[in-house]
Symmetry: C2
């Protein structure tokens, strides 16, 4: 059964080169990189190589600025809680936005129980934070600004460089959650001017459950995992070497192939947006026309439920999503879409279509054709739609 | 180059069945278990199966009591910080022992910066905590007792059942770091009566960078990783499915083969201890004669440095260690050995020999023969040894 995966944001296929590297690592069965004798040296070297590939992908000043983690969520928790706790003597105020991922929102909520105050900025109708509002929100007590690079539900990209500049001028540490950006769009931590940046391996077709945190040299941050001296004393625990090897290989190829991949994704997105009006009507595009990821389109289809569309497409072997996979099980409308000013009804009609290097134009056309028939069927039984027709 | 691995405590080989399961998982390339459509269902099922195998290995009341983590260190950090922060309103006092792993020690040190007080109990000459001292140390402010199940440097096993009984009577949450025990000796969380128990996959020949935390139903503990709703809302982040599959398979075999493995290890240990006096003299055994792991022997060889012995054995392609791999890079004498009452000089002469299901009697004999010549060489140039001969 071939499934058309248009839910890349929840999971991307493993690159065949990453698969090969991981299988070779399993067969090789490395020793612990921290062990004292020569069996560990080879493992330590492999770990260094992966760190270098990842550091190059985001242009670190040195590979030592990379800490390997168990994924984007750990990176975000490490950055936010680690900076907050390490700098609490200076103050207990944090600035963020209303459209962050749950990893950010809930890390901040946890800090509130430890006495931290959080200013959460609203976004404009396009889903973007106004850098001036960040500047205005910073006080003498502010120890951290955390604004995501791109949004996982709408694909909208934030003015990170401008915000980083403001944070730097005001001597406040700046973290960006770039989990959906690294390996998809060019990311240069030095050009962006951020202090911390979270990313995940699966975004660039590496394995799940592995990620990293960029920590600019000299940034004051506590470890989230205390214990051994691994990761230059920044993250304790014996490494997931097999996963890290897969991520290293995926990072190497993401850097090498960034341009052709970008072109491919941009073409698919243009095709989808151009063809959409030929298949359905009365929908809202939640994706910023200029500042957005090339691999994601969010649309709210009026008068029907996204959940029903998703399930009917699933019957046609087409996978899309209605929200972040991390929020599955929650019945509430997405906080991201409500922040854009969407009504509850329109937010409930939302579909997120995300694609990747393995997606073809035929996949997009097959989706559109299924979508047309699903929307027609659902609107035929929609009281909202009948009502709208009568007025 | 065949290396005789007598440093199983720092890394064990992957079981061939675990390798096969992981390679199959890589080739299969599962979708995200949390995704909304049917692609995710198969992955969710595989995740459930692994959870069941692990739950059975330690006899949980329900598989939901298992939280998958990125390894023993994360489990320990989650347990200690999570219980402390979730129960801080009751009090800010924690009881532990002097011989815990760095993951415990440093998690507690981190909590001290948040106002927690820690009572750290000494051990007797055999390396064991006296349960009565735990009872005496508990106050109205105590929210957590954390005592390890077995020590990673000496192999000594603590009276966990007795301590758990005391904690339960005094209504204090009890965590045990069983990272070096689960899958090696029988562990039954219900019989032990613990509230939380940390373990790691590699201890039972699964992959590194994966582990778990047993949380008894109803135990009040905050997540360490906040974000999505994975792991029954107890640990956010997309799962390391490949690693978890490897751990699940390894757990299944650890349960099936526990007895024959135990017999094999006990035989090796008896052989080593019986033969040792035929090869070297003047050493101290740091391993408890009755309560200790079957796969580890710690000995302090007088007048010489363990570090030098380890390096010379490494030249003979025999891997042993002088301390926890997590403490490599530290030059200080082991806090565990000093707690047993060893002098600094004797502590520096310590070797940890740890073996596993792949170790043979020939390996043990090859080690002993190399050890004899290394010890002779080193003592010939040891001023301490010459001095001791003269007196």
């Amino acid at each position: 059964m071939k499934i058309i995966n248009l839910d890349h944001i929840s999971s991307k296929p493993l690159l065949s080169e990453a698969k090969k590297a991981m299988i070779a690592a399993i067969e090789k069965d490395y020793h612990n990189p921290s062990s004292q004798h020569k069996s560990g040296e080879e493992a330590a070297e492999v770990l260094d190589n992966a760190r270098e590939s990842v550091a190059q992908l985001i242009n670190c000043a040195t590979p030592k600025e990379i800490v390997f983690t168990s994924g984007g969520t750990e990176s975000v928790n490490h950055a936010i809680k680690g900076v907050a706790m390490a700098n609490a003597e200076k103050g207990k105020h944090i600035v963020t936005s209303n459209i962050e991922h749950n990893a950010v929102i809930r890390s901040l909520r946890r800090l509130k129980t430890a006495g931290f105050k959080v200013t959460s900025l609203s976004v404009d109708a396009g889903g973007r934070v106004n850098p001036q509002e960040v500047a205005d929100a910073i006080t003498d007590e502010t120890v951290l600004v955390s604004i995501m690079h791109s949004n996982n539900e709408t694909g909208t990209i934030q003015p990170i460089e401008d915000i980083a500049k403001i944070a730097r001028e005001k001597k406040v540490i700046f973290h960006t959650d770039a989990v959906d950006s690294v390996g998809v769009v060019p990311i240069d931590v030095q050009a962006l001017g951020v202090d911390l940046l979270s990313f995940a391996s699966n975004t660039f077709y590496g394995p799940t459950g592995v990620g990293g945190l960029y920590i600019r040299r000299g940034t004051r941050v506590f470890p989230l995992l205390d214990g051994g001296i691994q990761e230059n004393n920044k993250r304790a625990g014996t490494e997931n070497l097999i996963g890290i090897i897969g991520m290293g290989k995926a990072a190497e190829l993401a850097e090498r192939d960034l341009k052709p991949r970008l072109n491919h994704l941009k073409n698919l997105k243009s095709k989808l947006l151009a063809e959409l009006p030929n298949y359905i009507d009365e929908y809202i595009l939640n994706t910023h026309p200029e500042f957005s990821l090339p691999n994601l389109v969010s649309l709210s289809i009026k008068y029907i439920e996204g959940e029903s569309v998703m399930l009917m497409l699933d019957d046609d072997d087409i996978a899309v999503s209605t929200r972040s996979a991390c929020a599955t099980g929650s019945l509430r409308a997405s906080h991201v879409l409500l922040s854009l000013g969407l009504s509850h009804a329109d937010a409930q009609g939302t579909l997120v279509i995300s694609f990747g290097i393995d997606t073809t134009e035929e996949d997009i056309l097959a989706f559109l054709s299924s979508l047309k028939s699903v929307v027609t069927t659902l609107r035929d039984i929609s009281p909202l739609y009948s009502k709208a027709r009568l007025t």
